[in-house]
Homo-oligomer: 454 residues x 2
């Protein structure tokens, strides 16, 4: 039997394991999940004769090598920073490897060794990065194959709560790592291209410069810009493109309310708050407002940020219970971002039966002989339950399909890869359709950003 | 004769050299200025038989050692990062040393060696840091000697243009390093204490949380908070203080207008702008605004920041000529902060006959038996001309007086020092008075920040 080793078994493992076990008889696969702690959920998913779970500390070099040596292919679902040791062992033992993480410089540096050993180190093959690469490249390549020039590409992704469980004023719940949500957009200005002009948005304006999206049957969404929209400009072969913009999807109104936290300084992760442990939520808010004991924290906040008393953003703040003087932070030496995260988890955690929703939206603008065209493509995936989430499905299935395709030599090009070639995206996108992961494409009038074009 | 070696001869050297030469006959001093480039101005100031200027590259270890070995005391007016090599040589050759810069961790690490060799490494003895330490500690020590408890200390300094040359709408010209003005407040939230509560202001709010100050004969000023108001809490023995706040002084209205640059992202120094060299000033502004070719850059800016057409901040922007489409940035791979600095230098450089002005303001709150008191102390120093500036006077004279006092063994305590002990501040403040550097002290009702106190 062909041995598949999956190292790490986090939230996105369910569909990955299920897919491989469903194929395990016909494809002659044995799946081993190795983690420092094997959960009951993993044991339930892996209730199959071609499955075993082993306890493995990846920092234990001998145990890690032994596990890798005995496999035919390795899937690393570890945190991104921990892939590199696994990757080096894979080269040493001549095993292919698959991850859903961004290619780090250390990973990229293995490209030569991978090629020399005819090994595939496939990365960025989850949702975002992953399905975004594949679905975009399929359309972009088709447009170019038909002799058109691509002039606009915009791509947006969001992990949200399913409409039926969308029960708070923010229209948002945490379906993934809350920390990433709290610190999103920090670390420098967002940079992108609009109609040939480079544009920069500083963090303090990021959530005030949103755009709207409409998706049939799901209503209106908004988008704020990612840090670096130009990251894949060269990989996607878009060097002469006029508009290149990538962003994150939220429900309309989220960003305007979130900007209150940004403006007050509550998302800062660079310093710790004095005596954070004994603070109330109200004390936390008050730390970012002027001293004035004759005024309430509420009025000081309204006044500082000029919030009208009938503005819906106010209700969003109240809903989070941030003015509560009884609830304590109870985090030692915490940064503002850590404290805010704790407050938000109180309100934004998924309930037992809540389902998540993944939304992806691409816009492609292209032209020939001065005539401009546009295709909009959107994908919505709903979760089944808290194990088989939309996130687990859209991350885990591409990883699983790629793993089997590499084993079966359908994907053959060696080296450190991301899924942007037809060899990779064609079979995977085709099979994802059978799981309901599909894009609705429609031709729309070219809009761009220049009303003088129209 | 006693040899004084001054390494580095920048903008603040004039009074330093003049003071020592004026005393050189009676005190038997010979002054050597060593710099990689000796200016005509320095030669004019040093036109005296007890003076010589030598060319010295401080990176040349042999030459540096030779110069230090032949001196009795060394004054380093080099950029702060370059003091440490000089300081190590001073210890090797057993020479005292004086600087106006902040004590770096590397400098502090020499404390043990300095004490072991009975040497004084006196730092932070210019204006800010320098006169602020000395003037504050003199009042604080007096308050405490009289049995009072200090409950509030606030300290503000600003380098401004003299009222007679205050000719632009910003009421500001560059009298010191422009770069420090452009990036002021960056790198983390401002932190301070108000009435026992820690307060934090993020960069995007720093210039909207100002306070006012009035100085007799000079009118009203405003203050924005420094990054770390608590830096000297322990050194000043203020560990139980309720309010501790340090800030920078500007004329009223500066900060509200400056905040436009902060909000747009123009003060960011962390990334470079694409093709900055060929941009016009107008292009630079447009890079921070949405794409919309049917609207002017002016209207987009007004709309984004909600600036009314009759708001004075608009006139301040226009005065800087930032909407000019002809003027080019002409800086390669420049950061937003570097480009903004260039634009500001066009408008804010001192004219030939302009004079500068230094303003310092302290507030001291203290109590005994529940009764609260307050002393406000303010200092204004005006420059004479572009060589004998107020900045050169307030930085150079304390350095010069301390240098002679150390030579004359009036200041004797060895180690890495800052001027916070009576041994240092008493003689220096006394002599500074003879140069017109004096504080106007007045008792005022205790104000604090708590109206319920009154």
């Amino acid at each position: 039997m062909r041995q598949i080793l999956i190292i790490g078994s986090g939230k996105s493992s369910a569909y990955l394991i299920k897919y491989l076990l469903d194929k395990s008889i016909s494809e002659n696969l044995f799946v081993t999940v190795a983690d420092i702690h094997i959960t009951t959920t993993i044991k339930q998913i892996g209730n199959h004769k071609n499955f075993k779970a082993i306890t493995l500390d990846v920092c234990n070099e001998a145990a890690r090598n032994e596990a890798i040596k005995n496999s035919n292919i390795v899937v690393s679902m570890l945190p991104a920073s921990m892939h590199i040791d696994v990757a080096k062992d894979c080269i040493k033992h001549r095993k292919h490897m698959v991850t859903a993480s961004y290619v780090s410089p250390e990973m990229q540096a293995l490209n030569h060794d991978a090629i020399a050993n005819n090994l595939i180190l496939m990365n960025e093959i989850g949702l975002d990065p992953g399905i975004d690469h594949m679905s975009a490249m399929q359309v972009l390549d088709t447009i170019r194959d038909n002799g058109y020039e691509v002039i606009l590409f915009e791509s947006f992704t969001g992990g949200l709560v399913a409409p039926e469980n969308d029960t708070n004023l923010w229209n948002y719940k945490f379906t993934w790592n809350p920390r990433n949500v709290v610190v999103a957009g920090q670390g420098g200005a967002a940079k992108f291209l609009q109609e040939g002009t480079y544009k920069y948005i500083p963090y303090n304006r990021l959530f005030r410069r949103t755009e709207f999206l409409d998706i049939d049957g799901f209503g209106r969404f908004e988008v704020y810009a990612n840090r670096d929209s130009l990251k894949y400009q060269s990989a996607y072969k878009l060097n002469n493109i006029k508009t290149l913009y990538r962003g994150t999807i939220r429900r309309v109104g989220f960003s305007r309310a979130w900007n209150i936290f940004v403006t007050l300084g509550m998302t800062d992760d660079s310093y710790t708050i004095e005596d954070s442990e004994n603070m109330s939520y109200r004390d936390f808010v008050n730390a970012f407002l002027p001293y004035s004991p004759s005024d309430s924290v509420e009025l000081k906040l309204r006044h500082q940020l000029k919030i009208d008393q009938d503005d819906i953003v106010w209700d969003k703040l109240v809903e989070l219970d941030i003015f509560n003087s009884e609830k304590k932070v109870q985090l030692k030496k915490a940064t503002p971002a850590q404290i805010l995260q704790k407050i938000l988890i109180d309100s934004w955690s998924l309930a037992q039966n809540d389902k998540d929703m993944i939304v992806m939206y691409h816009k492609f603008g292209y032209q020939k002989n001065g005539k401009k065209h546009q295709i909009d493509a959107s994908m919505v995936v709903l979760g089944d339950d808290q194990t088989y989430t939309a996130m687990a499905k859209t991350v885990g299935l591409p990883v699983a399909i790629a793993t089997l395709a590499i084993l079966n030599k359908k994907i053959k090009t060696p080296g450190v890869q991301i899924p942007i070639t037809p060899e990779v995206y064609q079979p995977i996108l085709k099979e994802l359709k059978t799981f309901g992961i599909t894009f609705q494409e429609k031709e729309v009038p070219y809009l761009g950003y220049n009303p003088l074009n129209n």
